[in-house]
Amino acid sequence: MRTALDAWTILSVSAGVFFFLAGTVGLLRFSDTFTRLHALTKADNLGVGLVVLGLLPRAGSVLAGLKLAVIWFLVLLAGSTVSQLIARSARSRRPRA
């Protein structure tokens, strides 16, 4: 049981780390603001999400697990609204192409 849980944590956390890698590469390599924004939100949603999923079985109590889930939800909320706000502000400031 213990090994299975550990394997799950390793798998899920590694996948989360991969999405942070993807987010960083996207932020550095993509060509304009909007595509970079797209890369960024992947790290938010999936990176933190998978890390939270990986750590969930290790949370000692229901409250600790709930806190992890709330953190994920808050990161999702912040990521989606802030990316919308940035995109709108970037579009309104850019000269009409």
């Binding site: 944590t9 987010g23 992890l68 953190i71 502000s89 400031r93």
Partner: protein, 95 residues
């Protein structure tokens, strides 16, 4: 297991830190802000991993605080951006 979690935490931190070179390069303020936001998210993930690695349950509360406040940098940016007439800046202050 704790070594793995520490390693994952270092990796996340190192990668989002690489993303910080966007603050150096810009070109737009929005791009710079994105690098800070990525660091914010990565910081939350790194904290969670760090807390699990060291077995200190209270670290999750720190991540929780950061997550609640994560939207603020973006909101302040939009509110302060030129073109935001409500903030007193001239609306035609665009580059």
């Amino acid at each position: 297991m704790s070594d793995f979690l520490f390693g994952a935490s270092s990796l996340v931190l190192g990668m989002v830190a690489l993303g910080l070179t966007r603050i150096l390069r810009g070109p737009d303020d929005a791009d710079r802000l994105m690098a800070t936001l990525l660091l914010g998210t990565g910081g939350i993930a790194a904290l969670l991993l760090l807390g699990a690695a060291s077995g200190d349950a209270a670290v999750v509360d720190v991540a929780l605080t950061l997550a609640v406040l994560a939207v603020f940098a973006g909101v302040a940016f939009v509110r302060a951006a030129p073109g935001e007439a409500a903030d007193g800046a001239a609306p035609d202050d665009t580059p």
